[in-house]
């Protein structure tokens, strides 16, 4: 019962374009992730939907009703802020009951509903606490309970877990998605972390410099990015600019074979995780001998910096496997890298 549509929305502050002709349709009950760098667009889309940011041109519909000119208080959306923004002078319960109070709704029935919501977000026993007495995670849960009790059918989550510790962030990602689905709400969630968007969303919209670049399900966005920015933003990558001729290109004296590209200038994106590093040659296409220059252990991954033909530097990411002991001993050793042609992503300049 809550769909959202943006039609050609542009937002300007002075000469600064924050959103550039964005059109986006969100179906009822969907959980959408907006992915992009900070100030790249995601947060502005949320503010525009909530009516907190005036638009320069375009139209916004909520449930097929034009709300372009209506005030934030009339849009019935729940906004979840990065900094939580609980009312510091009110208790948890009073924060949660704020919506019904300002709307003049009878509080006696609402109070029971609020209690239910409070147990849903696991805040029992903290009802009379002030926000400064709560942890970040609890504050954000209160914020969500507050939005739900105010009668929101749409939840706009603006980098909601950014201010939280990694562990709590992980928990909340699942917990809140499930809650939203259970209540049948529509949610739009902005973030600049690929993992968070992938984990929580039914569909992902990728933004950069105010433009909507791609809007599709997470798998498609990851596997078939529409341009070099999307390809590079979703995972750490090696990036080059090349000339393709007869289905091959040369970087620093190394020749790569690709398949199905016309001749022309391209940007090449090769994700670090897509490069295969072996100690013995496999004799496959696009295989090169290389020297391992640097090794960084990142946790579940190891990052190798290797040089091909003494001139081409490539970064490779491999899972940290248990078989390899003392990985650091590999520095300076000879190895082999190969690039699967279908994992080399080329985009016309």
């Amino acid at each position: 019962m809550a769909s959202i549509e943006l039609q050609n929305v542009t937002v300007k502050i002075g000469n600064n374009i924050l959103l550039d002709n964005v059109s986006l349709k969100v179906d009822d009950g969907a959980y959408i992730g907006l992915l992009g760098p900070s100030n790249g667009g995601p947060s502005f889309v949320l503010k525009v939907i909530a009516g907190l940011l005036p638009i320069y041109s375009g139209k916004i519909f909520i449930d097929e009703v034009d709300v372009t000119d209506s005030h934030p208080e009339d849009r019935n959306v729940g906004f979840i802020f990065e900094q939580f923004n609980l009312f510091p002078h009110l208790t948890v319960l009073d924060n949660i009951l704020y919506g019904p109070r300002v709307k003049g709704i009878d509080l006696t029935t609402k109070e029971r509903e609020a209690k239910e919501v409070i147990s849903m977000v696991r805040l029992e026993n903290r009802e009379s606490a002030l926000s400064k007495e709560l942890s970040g995670g609890m504050q954000q849960r209160t914020g969500i309970a507050r939005a739900i009790t105010a009668g929101a059918k749409i939840l706009l989550l603006d980098q909601p877990y950014r201010a939280l510790d990694a562990k709590i962030r992980e928990e909340m990602r699942f917990e809140i998605r499930e809650l939203v689905k259970e209540l049948g709400m529509t949610a739009i969630h902005s973030t600049h972390e690929t993992e968070e968007a992938m984990l929580t969303s039914d569909k992902i919209a990728v933004f950069n410099e105010g433009k909507l670049l791609q809007f599709d399900n997470p798998e498609t966005v990851y596997k078939i990015p529409v341009n070099a920015f999307v390809a590079g933003f979703l995972a750490e990558s090696n990036k080059f600019q090349v000339k393709v001729k007869d289905n091959s290109f040369i970087i620093e004296n190394s020749k790569f074979i690709v398949d199905g590209y016309e001749d022309g200038e391209y940007v090449v994106i090769i994700r670090q995780i897509d490069v295969d590093l072996t100690s013995e040659p496999l004799n496959v296409v696009n295989e090169f001998e290389c020297i391992i220059d640097k090794i960084r252990i990142l946790g579940e991954f190891i990052r190798f910096t290797v040089t091909i033909n003494n001139s081409l530097t490539i970064i490779v990411r491999e899972l940290l496997s248990l078989e390899r002991n003392n990985v650091k001993n590999l520095i300076g050793k000879r190895a082999y890298v190969n690039f699967r042609p279908d994992l080399i992503k080329l985009f016309l300049v």
Partner: protein, 568 residues
């Protein structure tokens, strides 16, 4: 070159020695001692005098053989008048101030900077100049009456004019304060309330106002105390009525010391009790959640009504504050070559430059005195104020003393300046320590007291906002405490120090009440204006007032430039 290096090394070493804890604490004790003796001692000494002479003083005031208790009755009347006016002024200031401050703090619109500056204009106008201007506008046939074709001034001198004058000079202080207070409430929290369904009026009542509660109450106290303590404008507007500060001046002029002392003490005690009480109340008492009228509040939040509301408020501001405050400029233009009587004899130009009594010369002397006093006061107070502010923010070992000091700093703010002036006279003058007789140095001592909070308070703010990690970085790189202060902290606080300095300077330049008590034969410009008005030389008074407005306005511009260096 090497000898220069040597000197530098020695200097740094010297700073290292001075940074040692015992020396630092000794210095800080000196700073506190100076604060105590310059600022707190005069009122305390006054209190002591009253207590020791209690019997003779009360006899004089309550049981005089001839006058009976008439002195007390007239004191009571003047105190009651002062409080009534201060109370109404406070209500008007807050009622008008909140909407204006809210618009200035929250909305961006064309010409905002201009309006912002216009609101601040009366800040720059010394109260006696402003009082004169208000008198001309509301109280003379050349003011508003001219436009509505009345023969006489709309109000005659008395409570109504006092009220109008006090609103005119206190309003800008209050708006400035409230604006800062509202700005401190995070817009995002207001946004949160909007998305939960609250229209702007409800947001203000349920979120902004409760969060800014302490600041709003502080603004109200400011309005109240500014009105209660004002002398310069009141002298010109009161006519036959007497406010409490005026009565102190009257007692002083008649050399009726015990009466002046008694009245001063009453004012000081009431002011401090009120301030302390209200502050304590504001901090502790949580207001109940206001009742909300959703339909009604939604309606009056509508754009059209909001615009009308802002329009009405702006009109009232123009009529009550801005035009009366600056009317003297138009008046001066009017009487520049041909005076109010229609001849050249009482034109401003003739009176000031050509008349036999050489007003231009005495004006220059007064101006020089004013500037001298203000400069000395600014320098002394900054050298005392910066260490004090630093001590209060950054020296945890002073513990409980800090709380006491922090409250004591504000005491001069709430005491009427004429009472403070009297206390200074009683302590240092020929009835007390006999160190300094009335004149420029006693003026300096008096001004030191009431400008002290103006130099310390903003500094505290600036130091609190200063990122302490810069200091820590300096220390870890090997500089001593004092060297770090000189090379890192001080340069980063320069802007704050400058705006503190200008605030102190303008406060001193504008002061009338305290100066009247301690000036002896010396004259400052605000006092000079009062003299001119009382001797009916209105054209020259207008000239002096405009001169003072002009100087203060320039200073105000400098403050604004210093405060917003990047604002375009």
């Amino acid at each position: 070159m090497s000898s220069l290096d040597d000197i530098r090394k020695r200097y740094l070493n010297f700073e290292r020695i001075l940074s040692q804890r015992p020396i630092r604490i000794l210095f800080e004790i000196l700073v506190i001692f100076a604060f105590f003796s310059f600022v707190l001692l005069p009122p305390l000494n006054l209190l002591k005098n009253i207590i020791t002479d209690w019997n003779s003083i009360t006899e004089l005031i309550f049981r005089d053989p001839i006058l009976k208790n008439t002195v007390w009755l007239s004191m009571f009347r003047s105190i009651a008048l002062s409080f009534r006016i201060a109370f109404i002024v406070m209500i008007i200031d807050i009622m008008l101030g909140i909407p204006i401050a809210h618009v200035l703090a929250r909305y961006d619109f064309k010409g905002k900077t201009i309006i912002d500056t216009i609101i601040d204009l009366p800040l720059a106008v010394p109260t006696s100049a402003l009082g004169f201007s208000v008198l001309l506008f509301w109280g003379s046939a050349d003011g508003l009456s001219k436009f509505i074709l009345a023969e006489e001034g709309i109000f005659s001198q008395g409570p109504m004019l006092l009220l109008l004058g006090h609103v005119a000079f206190s309003f800008s202080y209050v708006v400035r304060n409230l604006k800062g207070v509202i700005e401190e409430v995070d817009v995002e929290i207001e946004n949160a309330a909007r998305t939960l369904g609250a229209p702007p009026i409800s947001v203000f009542r349920t979120i902004t106002a409760p969060m800014a509660k302490e600041g709003i109450i502080a603004g109200a106290i400011l309005a109240f105390t500014r009105s209660l303590g004002e002398t310069g404008a009141s002298l010109l507007l009161a006519g036959v009525y007497e406010t409490a500060p005026i009565q102190i001046v009257t007692f002083m002029n008649g050399y009726r010391i015990p009466q002046a002392a008694f009245l001063s003490v009453i004012l000081i005690i009431i002011s401090i009790t009120l301030l302390g009480g209200v502050r304590q109340y504001a901090r502790k008492v949580g207001l109940p959640q206001p009742k909300i009228y959703p339909e009604f509040e939604r309606k009056i939040s509508a754009k059209k009504i909001a615009k009308t509301r802002n329009g009405i408020v702006s009109f009232i501001f123009l009529l009550l504050v801005l035009i009366p405050a600056l009317f003297v400029i138009f008046y001066l233009i009017d009487v520049w070559s041909i005076g109010p009587s229609g001849t050249e004899e009482d034109s401003a130009f003739f009176e000031v430059f050509l008349d036999s009594d050489n007003k231009w010369e005495s004006m220059q002397v007064a101006l020089i005195t004013s500037v001298e006093v203000a400069l000395i006061v600014t320098i002394i107070n900054l050298s005392l104020g910066i260490p004090m502010a630093y001590l209060l923010v950054r020296r945890p070992y002073w513990g409980k003393w800090k709380v006491v000091l922090d409250m004591a700093i504000d005491i001069p703010l709430v005491i009427p300046s004429s009472a403070l002036g009297f206390a200074v006279y009683l302590l240092w003058g020929n009835l007390g320590l006999k160190l300094i007789s009335p004149g420029i140095w006693l003026i300096v001592l008096a001004h030191l007291t009431f400008t002290y909070p103006f130099s310390v308070r903003p500094m505290i703010n600036y130091i609190e906002n200063f990122d302490y990690s810069y200091y820590e970085a300096g220390r870890t790189l090997g500089a001593s405490d004092l060297t770090t202060f000189r090379r890192v902290v001080f340069p980063m606080l320069k802007r704050g120090i400058l705006s503190s300095a200008i605030l102190t300077f303008t406060r001193s330049m504008a002061e009338t009440g305290a100066t009247l008590i301690v000036m002896g034969n010396a004259r400052t410009v605000p006092v000079f204006i009062v003299d001119l008005v009382e001797s009916e030389s209105l054209s020259s008074a207008a000239f002096a007032a405009v001169l003072l407005i002009f100087i203060s306005f320039i200073l105000l511009l400098v403050v604004r430039l210093v405060d917003n260096p990047t604002e375009d």
